[in-house]
């Protein structure tokens, strides 16, 4: 449902009338502050504003005026999507849904006083806080690499500038050069992401630089959709991709961004392009707010996404340690709707239903060759638990793979509309 302006204003006026009645005298609308305007935060903002018909004030804090989706950014690297298609603004959330969008950094959460402090100096109080901060990299996870090295060795795991940079580096690789990826350990954002990226890099190199090599240096023994990716690499990028686990290499000891070297136990690799994806943890603001556990993630109450550390705060998406749901935009969007419902129920007494969660991750392997994996989940007392799932099969026919890819394009349009209106 798109909330039209007349309906929104109408209900806002009705709420104002209600608020001026003696019972509510001196009260203001309850306020939800949301930190982070990605798949979790933007969806939560839209759903709370839309479904409360203006009865809840929604403030979204997001530093970027233009948001680039991480999902589909690999397709930009592969040349299947222009960068411009990944860009979204928050204008509709403000104009159609009445969300107050504040472009600033949330620098601290003062849980005692229920306030968010902004880098710009303001403090905003909340009745409920939604934290959807995404991920940050674990400092020192890879010796020799920190954010100052991200131009020489891009991570491209937050989309936009980094995506464009990595794409340019791949396109400028010398003939027969080496692309090395330092893959992340579990758990991390977008489980199939590194391997879809390798597929996209291979696609670009196959056209422009077919003698180039791709090395994946992986701390994991296995990875998402492994059979499907490996089949695809074998069929479409024969001999181009080498997947090397720590068992084989002894693990990445350190990297040197100046010499473009990746040092393994017994060997040093000289890369022409090096994509370093370090270990991850919940976004910095969650650490600052004291909502993370020893592993660096935010434990949550499955049904409502409330922080285990603070009932007034709901944490969404990649930052959560939720049980079985993977860290994906789809998951964050799904969790945001459950949280939005719980928040409306708590603040204005609207109906609450049993939460339901689902996720699907599409990946593109080669032109018109899409695959997917997904599952449905329920909230138990302990965790968000998987109940059912599916995955694309090896050797599917071309028409199905093409349809799966086209479906992912439709999903992207649906998902971004669901987030941004």
């Amino acid at each position: 449902m798109i909330l039209n302006r007349r309906r929104f204003l109408g209900t806002a006026a009705a709420s104002a009338a209600l608020l001026s009645s003696p019972v509510a005298l001196g009260q203001t609308r309850p306020r939800v502050v949301i930190i982070g305007g990605g798949a979790g935060g933007a969806t939560a903002a839209r759903y709370i504003a839309k479904d409360s018909n203006g009865a809840i004030e929604v403030i979204l804090i997001e530093p970027s005026r233009t948001y680039y989706t991480c999902f589909f950014s690999n397709l930009a690297i592969g040349g299947f999507q222009p960068m411009s298609k990944l860009a979204h603004s928050y204008g509709t959330l403000a104009s159609e849904y009445g969300v107050t969008v504040v472009h600033d950094w949330a620098s601290a959460v003062d849980r005692e006083n229920k306030q968010v402090r902004l880098a710009g100096g303001d403090a905003i109080s909340y009745d409920r806080l939604v934290l959807s901060p995404g991920i940050d990299f674990v400092k020192g996870a890879i010796e020799g690499w920190d954010v100052t090295a991200q131009n020489k060795m891009p991570h491209a795991y937050k989309a936009g500038t980094q995506t464009q940079l990595l794409k340019a580096q791949i396109e400028a690789m010398p003939e027969g050069g080496t692309f090395a990826m330092v893959a992340p350990p579990n758990p991390y954002r977008c489980p199939p992401g590194p391997y879809e990226r390798v597929s996209m890099v291979a696609h670009v190199l196959k056209q422009r630089n077919p003698t180039a090599k791709i090395l994946i240096l992986d701390p994991k023994e296995k990875f998402s959709k492994q059979g499907l990716f490996m089949e695809g690499w074998e069929n479409h990028y024969t001999g181009m991709v080498d997947w090397l686990t720590d068992e084989f290499t002894g693990g990445v000891q350190r990297v040197d961004p100046n010499t473009m070297e990746v040092v393994l136990e017994d060997e040093t690799i000289k890369a022409d392009v090096c994509n370093v994806i370090p270990a991850m943890q919940a976004g910095g603001i969650a650490q600052q707010a004291g909502l993370t556990n020893d592993e660096g993630w935010c434990p949550i109450v499955p049904a409502t996404l409330q922080s285990r550390m603070d009932d007034n705060i709901h944490v969404l998406g990649d930052a959560t340690q939720n049980g079985d749901m993977p860290k994906s935009g789809f998951s964050a969007n799904s969790q945001a709707k459950a949280a939005a419902m719980a928040i409306r129920h708590a603040l204005i007494g609207s109906r609450a239903f049993k939460p339901r969660f689902s996720n699907t991750c599409w990946s593109l392997i080669s032109p018109d060759n899409g695959v997917k994996v997904g599952a449905s989940y329920v909230a138990t007392d302990d965790k968000i638990a998987k109940v059912d799932g599916f995955i694309s099969q090896n050797n599917e026919d071309d028409a199905l793979r093409k349809q799966t890819y086209e479906e992912s394009l439709g999903w992207y349009a649906g998902m971004t509309t669901d987030m941004f209106g």
């Binding site: 239903f353 689902s358 699907t360 199905l400 093409k402 394009l409 999903w411």
Partner: protein
């Protein structure tokens, strides 16, 4: 065009395909099926030199992938179903003829359906003669002959809780756009309640092949399906 009764028929009889198990009262009547096929003739041809008309020819239709006849015109929805893996097994044909919208909501086949089990059984017995490779003729499964296959139409969908449906629709809108856009993923807005309910029940039972939709539908209760149908009928 009518076909001569092919030489295959005696062997089918010998294999017991057409005789039915003793417990089954209804024997399949090919001659009666041929008469019933008159209702299909304006759009479908079958037999020697059959050609595509408004719909595809029906030679070797058994176990054929949906939307796969060269030169035939198909709806977007039917092409999607074919790519998803819909095949015209005996069960699928039975369910489709019962009401085409059971399997393909946006089908071009403008036919309200054949209610009677016995009619469908006879019609399919007639059509089976034109699928010449016995390997392509699946065994008549229990579901065809022993039950009134699709219980997709029970009318329990008219009093759904639209507010609950709106909440549940959150699971749909991650993929299906609320503005009704139809690219890559079909539109589900503004459907009639029966169409909506039938489609979800068909995914639930596995009659429709899409794995995501099967998963989503499987955990929806009848109440939830009705709620979604009540909500989506007014979305446009």
């Amino acid at each position: 065009m009518r076909a001569a009764i092919p030489a295959l028929l005696p062997s089918l009889l010998a294999m017991g395909f057409l005789s039915g198990a003793p417990s089954i009262a209804l024997a399949q009547d090919i001659a009666r099926g041929e008469r019933l096929f008159n209702a299909c003739l304006s759009c479908h041809d079958v037999g020697k030199d059959a050609r595509n008309r408004i719909g595809p020819h029906l030679n070797s239709v058994f176990d054929r992938k949906a939307a796969s006849v060269d030169g035939a015109t198909y709806s977007k929805a039917m092409k999607r179903a074919g790519a998803d893996g819909l095949r015209w097994t005996l069960d699928a044909l039975n369910i489709y003829i019962e009401n085409p919208k059971n399997l393909v909501s946006g089908t071009r086949m403008n036919y309200r359906g054949m209610d009677k089990k016995k009619d469908r059984s006879d019609l399919l017995a007639y059509l089976r003669q034109f699928s010449v490779n016995p390997a392509n003729i699946p065994e008549a499964s229990a579901s065809l002959l022993q039950q009134d296959a699709p219980s997709l139409h029970e009318e329990t969908y008219l009093d759904g809780d639209a507010e609950y449906g709106e909440y549940l629709s959150g699971e749909c809108t991650s993929c299906h756009q609320s503005n009704g856009a139809d690219k890559g993923i079909p539109s589900i807005t503004g459907w009639s309640q029966p169409d909506f309910v039938i489609a979800l029940r068909a995914y639930q039972k596995g009659h429709r092949p899409h794995p995501v939709m099967q998963m989503i539908a499987k955990r929806l209760s009848e109440e939830e399906i009705a709620a979604l149908a009540a909500y989506y009928k007014d979305q446009n």
